[in-house]
């Protein structure tokens, strides 16, 4: 194990690890942004059309709930393989960083929708009623009440979503997506370079810790209920 502190190890694997880290960061970053672009509006719609929402609509709510649940119930690896042709159609390839982003987004978006729904449901119904009583439109209530009031909770949810996507990228790595997961599998497992396995695991642990810490700090930092 001590070889991970040697210049030889880093001379041989340093670039690979750096590239792996870069690929993971790109996959997680782009997937998270795209998944939020889909998941956030979905979560908002789930809240608005819910039984106690300001735009109750049972049909829309049920259909959305269904779609989200289907997305949530498929294991990522199955989804990734099942979507292979769709992915190639959409972005030209189903391997590498680009190929991984499509299933990552499709898998994370429903998860994010539920996270957003939960965060928004924590906003006091009385505050929503007050905004309605002032003549706020649905759009204004979403934009100026729901989202800002739920922001600390949404930020916390953000860290969970990102860490989940990070875990997915490691799975994606097993079928050629690149990134740290790919390194762990290729070197740590197939070539039995235990030091590589150790380093990728350590890196992943550090990344998760850093993300969690940053998001926790931001969440408490912006929460005005706590002072």
């Amino acid at each position: 194990m001590s070889e991970i502190f040697t210049a030889e190890f880093w001379g041989q694997y340093g670039t690979l690890l750096l590239e792996g880290f870069r690929d993971t960061a790109i996959m997680v970053g782009i997937s998270a942004v795209l998944a939020y672009l889909i998941g956030l509006p979905l979560g908002v719609l789930l809240i608005l059309t819910g039984e106690h929402g300001i735009r109750p609509n049972r049909t829309v709510n049920r259909v959305l709930g269904w779609v989200v649940n289907i997305g949530r119930s498929l294991p990522f690896i199955i989804l990734m393989i099942a979507l292979k042709d769709f992915t190639r159609l959409l972005v030209g390839t189903y391997i590498g960083v680009t190929g991984a982003i499509v299933p990552l987004v499709i898998s994370a978006a429903p998860f994010i929708a539920r996270m957003v729904e939960t965060s928004l449901s924590e906003v006091d119904a009385g505050v929503i009623e007050a905004a309605q009583s002032m003549g706020a439109s649905t759009f204004q209530i979403v934009w100026k009440v729901y989202l800002p009031e739920a922001m600390p909770s949404l930020v916390l949810g953000g860290s969970i979503s990102i860490i989940t996507i990070l875990a997915y990228t490691a799975i994606a790595g097993t079928i050629g997506a690149g990134g740290l997961g790919d390194l762990g599998v290729r070197y740590g497992f197939y070539r039995n370079v235990s030091s590589m396995m150790l380093v990728t695991v350590l890196l992943l642990i550090v990344i998760v810790q850093v993300i969690q810490t940053i998001f926790n700090r931001v969440s408490t930092g912006i929460d005005k209920r706590l002072r």
Binding site: D124, M134, G135, L226
Partner: protein, 340 residues
Amino acid sequence: MPVSDSIIQVRDLTKTFGQGDASVRALRHINLDIKQGEIYGIIGLSGAGKSTLVRCLNLLERPTSGSVVVDGKEMTALSEKELRLARRSITMIFQSFNLLMQRTCLHNVCFPMVISGVKKDAAKKRAMELLDMVGLAEKANAYPAQLSGGQKQRVAIARALATDPKVLLCDEATSALDPTTTNSILSLLKDLNQTLGVTVVVITHQMSVIEEICSKVAILDNGQVVEEGLVTDIFAHPTTDAARRLVYPGGDIPELLVDSSKVIRVAFNGGTAYHPLIASLAIDCGVKVNILGADTRNIDGKAFGTMLLGLPEDENEAAKALSYIRAQHNITVEEVEYHV
């Protein structure tokens, strides 16, 4: 269109929740006329339908049938957009304040102006004036979590006034506050009613609130208005059971121990506790009175609530007792009709 000096006119309003066997008839055939500039009370026990009624006035709740005219507009006929506009002149405050927790007091007060398209700078300027009016200018940059209940309600009042409403609806606005704070909020509402001319509708389950600021009152019982009129009249001649339950403190009306020709209702608004009053009445005037019922609370050595007293039959003694009680601070007295 019929000419009317009522700013709020409710006709045959009915609201039923749910359907079939599970349905709840929350409001039945309600008729109300609330005049411009009035402070109008709606009182009833929990579950009587007060919140539903007040929410039907700004159409937060859509009536099942009937008509609600506010400021000349038939509210039930408005389109969604027209309704949002109308709501700017019928604003509301709540028992739980319902402030935006992630915004400063200033931004809370700006909120209704910003959503109605007022420029940011103009909104801020007006918001500062309003915060000043409710006595909280120095808290402009504080967040709601840093305020006491009374201060939160003041911010909520400033916010409710931001769009220059004609009507201010208050749903149990003081029910979460202690008696001293309640009184200060009530006198603020009274002031605003007088200086701005805003019509105030006060929903409460507390008689003391009605007594403190309302000129007229409707008693709501089981979804129906069972009595309506001047507060003084209703207090003096409650004719229905529901009204008597509210007017005569303590609920049950006890048997008279001695013959009393005259019964008075004494309201304590934060003066000395009531036991010393009865005792000193006996000592100072030599007059014994019957306590027929009492619903008073002692808070920090001050009495709040109401008490029903039977005065002696002897007219001189009765008059003596009456004038003695009238001379006390923070006590109001009314003669009432007493049905045994």
